[in-house]
Every structure is written in structure tokens, then in C-alpha cells.
């Protein structure tokens, strides 16, 4: 029994070697032109190395503890802010890191390799909350919230309700006008990072008779009277990530806190989810890769019937298949990200990336437990956590079925 534990510590050192070899090939300080999707700018390479190190050295030792506590440790949250990871694309004049979209993707992937909760925290803040504000906020809102989001404040995006998930526009939360104030009433559900969020981007309908064309995005401070954070869902995975109900009881918001234009909220939501999808894709490939790396290291050590279990042909075929799927998923994510950065159409590719990456992550983690055998089923090893964490990937930010609908619609349009 103890011999197995001894393999554990050594294998994780070994899998660090594997991860590092791959990064060496990414450096652009060579003479050959690299047009593969693994062509990163110097800043992106530096970012990947720095974030990878930070994740392994600072976050990995705390992952189990955070899961058991059901919360991200305050010092880890602070670490993310101090290293500029919560304001990756926020411009430097607001105290952000001023980097590009792909940098967010790299950061999300590197963190998810270690803990998809942290990957998720970085994903939502950067690809959903910050982007929503940067694309649609008035100068006043940008001046007020960008510095905070970069420095010390977590933001939450409130769209879903108990009776509106995929059917987001069926939301019931309303906002009625009183002079230059709006009064918001309703209940949002499944709101990630809500436990520690300081600001909420709330979708509410100012005129239900207009249907979805009345949906408006309000920026609501946490301490606004009438806003209460409800219970944290008791989930299968992502246990350290808060997923609470957020209740709005006569919450008064000034009209200058409307993000963008009245009645355009639905557009902003769709737009943000199209981009956020790529972020989830990155979270899923990171999760799958982190799980895979640890598992392969184990299979190269564990012996049965006088040989490494990695050497059995049956194992090799399964491993190669999963590795190929994972590579394909990564390329879909990277490609969608680069298309978006280039200002090219990317919605179909983003939907494909999220759909494929989340499905691949589920397959990968399941096979990894098989390959680990009995120990994969125990909490002594990190593998089972990846298995539980990945399941939500096919559900949140647009279920797999919704992604497939989106892809089909776009295919149809291509043939017009």
C-alpha cells in the first residue's frame, strides 16, 4: 500500500518534466517560422511559463484543502489579483495587464491543469465579466469598475433563473422604472463566484411585453440594499467554486448603471457567451491534460505481470486515442481563440471547441480512472477530482445540445 504512495510523489515530479519539455518547443527565439497553432508570442510564452509555475508551486498544494473547505482560500484569491490574472485584458491605464484574449486562454488552461476551480475563476472574470464591461460600458462605468476588477474585486454574471436555463430569454427578473432609478425584483440561480463577488452584472427585463427585447444589463454593487446571496449549491464537483442563488428584493439601481443600452441585454449576453465558450473550452482541455499527465506518469511506473502497465498494447491504444482527441480539442480551442483575436467570424468554431473539449474532458477523465485502477477511485489521488469536476463542462455556458443547435444554424446559413 505504501509502495503505491511512494510512486505518487515521484510520478508527479516526472510529469513536471513532461510538461516542461513541451513548453521548450514554443519559444520563438529560433530562426524557423512556426505557423502551427502552437506559435505563441514572446509574452504568451512567458505568461504560460509564469502561470504554469505559479499554479504548480502555489495552488497545487492547496487544491484538496480548498475542495474540502468548499471555498477558494483568500490568499489564493489575493495571489490571482496580485499577479494581474484577474484583469488580463483590462487596459494598463486601469491597472490591468493589457494583454490579449489568447493570454486569457493560456492562463485558464494552465490553471485548469491544476484545479479547474481556479481555471473557472480566471475564465469567468476575464472572458465574461471583464469583456462584458469593456465592450459595452460607458466611460463612467469603466472608470469606476475596471480598476477594481483588476485589483481586488470579483465580478459575477447573473443570467440564469430557476425557470430559465437554456431558455435564457424566458427570464422573470424584472426592472421597473421610477424616475432615474430602476427597481429590480427576481431571483437568479446558479451564479458562479457569487459568494465573494463585489459587483453583479444582472440581466433583467424592463418591459416583459417586448419579450427578450426588454432584457437590459444592470451593474449592481453587492452592498445595494435588497440584494442577498442565497444558498451555495451542494454540487458533484467544482466544490470550491461558489454557485449561489442571488435574490433581488426591490433593489434600486440608478440608470447610469445600465450597461450599454436598454433592451440590448440579450445581444450582450449572446455575444459574451460566444466568447466565453472558448474560455470554457480552455478550462476543459486544461483539466483533461492535467488529469492525463498525472495518469500517464503513473502507468509508466506501475507494474503488473512483470511489465509497466503502459506497455500493454491494449493500454497504448486507449492512451493514444485519448491523446489524439485531446490534441484535436486543444487545436479547436486555440483556433477559435485566434480567429476571435483576428476579428474573423468565430461563433461556429467557438461552439465546436466548447462542445468537443467538454465531451473529450469527460472521456479523458473516465479513461484515466480506468488506467489508474483502484487508486484512481480514491481521494488519495487527484484523478477522481478531475472526473467529478469535468461533468459540468457539457452543461454550463451553453449545454452540448445548445452548441450543436448553434453549429447547425451556422452551417445552414453557410449554404444560403
Amino acid at each position: 500500500m505504501f509502495a503505491i504512495r511512494n510512486i505518487g510523489t515521484k510520478t508527479f515530479r516526472l510529469c513536471r518534466n513532461l510538461a516542461q519539455k513541451n513548453v521548450a518547443n514554443l519559444s520563438t527565439s529560433t530562426d524557423t517560422i512556426n505557423r502551427s497553432l502552437y506559435n505563441f508570442s514572446d509574452e504568451e510564452v512567458q505568461l504560460k511559463e509564469t502561470v504554469g509555475r505559479l499554479a504548480r508551486e502555489k495552488i497545487e498544494p492547496k487544491v484538496r484543502e480548498m475542495e474540502q473547505q468548499g471555498d477558494v482560500l483568500p490568499e489564493i484569491r489575493q495571489l490571482m489579483f496580485d499577479n494581474g490574472l484577474m484583469g488580463i485584458e483590462i487596459p494598463e491605464e486601469y491597472g490591468g495587464s493589457g494583454l490579449n484574449f489568447f493570454s486569457s486562454i493560456i492562463a485558464i488552461e494552465e490553471f485548469a491543469k491544476v484545479d479547474s476551480v481556479i481555471g473557472g475563476l480566471v475564465d469567468l472574470q476575464n472572458t465574461v465579466v471583464n469583456t462584458l464591461l469593456l465592450h459595452n460600458g460607458s466611460k463612467e462605468l469603466l472608470d469606476k469598475y475596471c480598476p477594481r476588477l483588476a485589483k481586488d474585486m470579483i465580478g459575477s454574471f447573473c443570467l440564469s433563473e430557476s425557470s430559465s436555463g437554456s431558455d435564457a430569454f424566458a427570464m422573470r427578473t424584472s426592472a421597473s422604472k421610477n424616475g432615474d432609478y430602476y427597481t429590480i425584483n427576481g431571483n437568479k440561480l446558479w451564479i458562479s463566484n457569487s459568494k465573494h463577488a463585489g459587483v453583479f452584472f444582472v440581466m433583467a427585463n424592463v418591459n416583459p411585453s417586448l419579450g427578450y427585447k426588454g432584457i437590459t444589463c444592470f451593474v449592481v454593487d453587492r452592498d445595494t440594499p435588497g440584494l442577498t446571496i442565497g444558498k451555495n449549491e451542494d454540487k458533484l464537483g467544482l466544490l470550491a467554486s461558489s454557485t449561489c442563488a442571488v435574490h433581488f428584493d426591490d433593489v434600486k439601481v440608478h440608470e447610469k448603471n445600465i450597461l450599454g443600452k436598454i433592451g440590448q441585454g440579450y445581444k450582450y449576453a449572446i455575444s459574451i457567451l460566444n466568447e466565453g465558450r472558448i474560455g470554457i473550452g480552455a478550462q476543459m482541455i486544461g483539466l483533461a491534460q492535467g488529469c492525463f499527465d498525472k495518469t500517464i506518469a503513473y502507468t509508466r511506473e506501475r507494474q503488473q505481470f512483470g511489465q509497466r502497465i503502459f506497455d500493454f498494447q491494449g493500454m497504448q491504444h486507449q492512451i493514444s486515442h485519448v491523446a489524439t482527441q485531446l490534441e484535436a480539442a486543444r487545436l479547436l480551442v486555440y483556433n477559435a481563440a485566434r480567429l476571435k483575436e483576428a476579428g474573423k467570424p468565430f461563433i461556429k468554431e467557438a461552439a465546436m471547441a466548447k462542445y468537443f473539449a467538454s465531451e473529450v474532458a469527460c472521456q479523458t477523465t473516465s479513461k484515466c480512472i480506468d488506467w489508474m485502477g483502484g487508486v484512481g477511485y480514491t481521494k488519495d489521488y487527484p484523478i477522481e477530482k478531475y472526473y467529478r469536476d469535468c461533468k459540468v463542462g457539457t452543461i454550463y455556458e451553453g449545454t452540448s445540445n445548445i452548441q450543436l443547435n448553434t453549429i447547425a444554424k451556422l452551417i445552414d446559413a453557410e449554404f444560403k
Binding site: 515530479r13 518534466n17 521548450a24 505568461l47 509564469t50 495587464s97
Partner: protein, 254 residues
Amino acid sequence: MSLRILVGCKRAIDYAVKIQVKSDLSGVVTEGVKHALNPFDEIAMEEAVRLKEKKLANEVIAVSCGPAQSQDVLRTALALGADKAFHVEVPAKEYETLQPIHVSKILAKLAEQEKVDLIILGKQAIDDDCNQTGQMTAAVLNWPQATFASKLQLKDKEATCEREIDGGLETISIKLPAVVTADLRLNTPRYATLPNIMKAKKKPLKKFSPKDLGVDITPRQEIVKVCEPPKRQGGGKVASTEELVERIKKLGVN
């Protein structure tokens, strides 16, 4: 007191990599292998940046000698807080035979040119473990040196340094300009924050050649052979102390 500090940054094979010897026994495999800033140089950089933050220094210059890839560690140094970087370009073939004696002359020349008050180097590089560059640089410049530093305090033009030596800890006081080499416990280096990685892009990086600095890098040593240490033989078990003594006597050890 506003000091100018020069920090040596060597690009060495990453500490976590499993080293492999080349099949022709001429050296270790470096192609495609992960490299990084030498960990002791990271500690040296951290110390320099902290002195700048304490307003005791106003400029930190990072220097690296090596082929084009050395610019990677200079970019890291800039992201950690250096103000400017110097790349002394040494082609790959000549880099294989570059020795501390050459590097110390290069650093000395740059220190004089830039009117530097303090040179902080890592105590040794983790690839060659020479532990010579700091000492030689001080000798070339005829400056005082404080090696294996685990604590550094500056006041006026004097540095008080706690050194880790074989017998324990030794505290010495030296006058600036001086050379200090960083040991493991001097500090815990920071991570490069994302905003700093972006800011590093705008910081100046200047290239030199050893010839520009009047340093001759002709090798004075020839590497004859590089091989792995002999494989560790298994030990044996003995039943009693007497048997142990018998065995030791038989091996000819007194």
C-alpha cells in the same frame, strides 16, 4: 544613496529536467531541453529589485552572455523588475567553451562602463556549478566581495553581509563598489506579474559582442569527456556490528 546595480543572468537548463549525456560524450543534451533563468540568479535579481523598491538603488541592469536564446532570460529579468538588459552575444559554438574567467572580464568591463556600484550574481550556475564568476569579477575589478550571501544590508556606501560558510554564519562589512553572490536563503523570488511581462516589452535591450568589450573569449580549457556518474551499486546487509567491522577491514578501509 542611489546605487546602480548589475545583475548576472545565466540561461541554464531548468532544475527539474532529467539531464542526459550526449552519445558522443562531448557534453549534455541541450537541444529542445527546457532552459530557465539560473535559480541563484533569480535570487540575485529579487535582491536587486527589492533594493530598488526600498529606494536604495535607482537602476538595475540585467546582463546575460550567450547565444540568441539568452534573450529569453533577459526578458524574464526585465519582467521581474530590471530597468534595462544587456545581451553579450556569444555564438553557440563558442558558448560551449565560455568559462567564468571570460564572463568575469565581460562583467567587469560592463560594470566600469556603466559606473555600477554593486554587482549581484548568483553564487553558482546549476549547470556547471563553478562558483567562480563572482570571485573572479571582484578580483578583476579589485573590488571587495561578499560571497554566499544570505542577508544583505546597505547603508551609505557600505554593505553588511551575512555569509553562509562551512562553520556557520559569518557577518562581514564591505565598502562599495563591491560584488555580492547570492545564496539560496537570501530571499524568495517573486513571480513575474502579467502587467510586468507587458511592461518588459518596452524596456531597452542592448546587444554587445565580447570584442566590443575588448574581451578575448578564446577557450583556455578543452572538454575531454562528459559522462554519467557510475551507477550506484546496491549495498549489502550485515547481521552484527562485528561483521560490519570485518567487512570494512576486508575492503582495506581503516
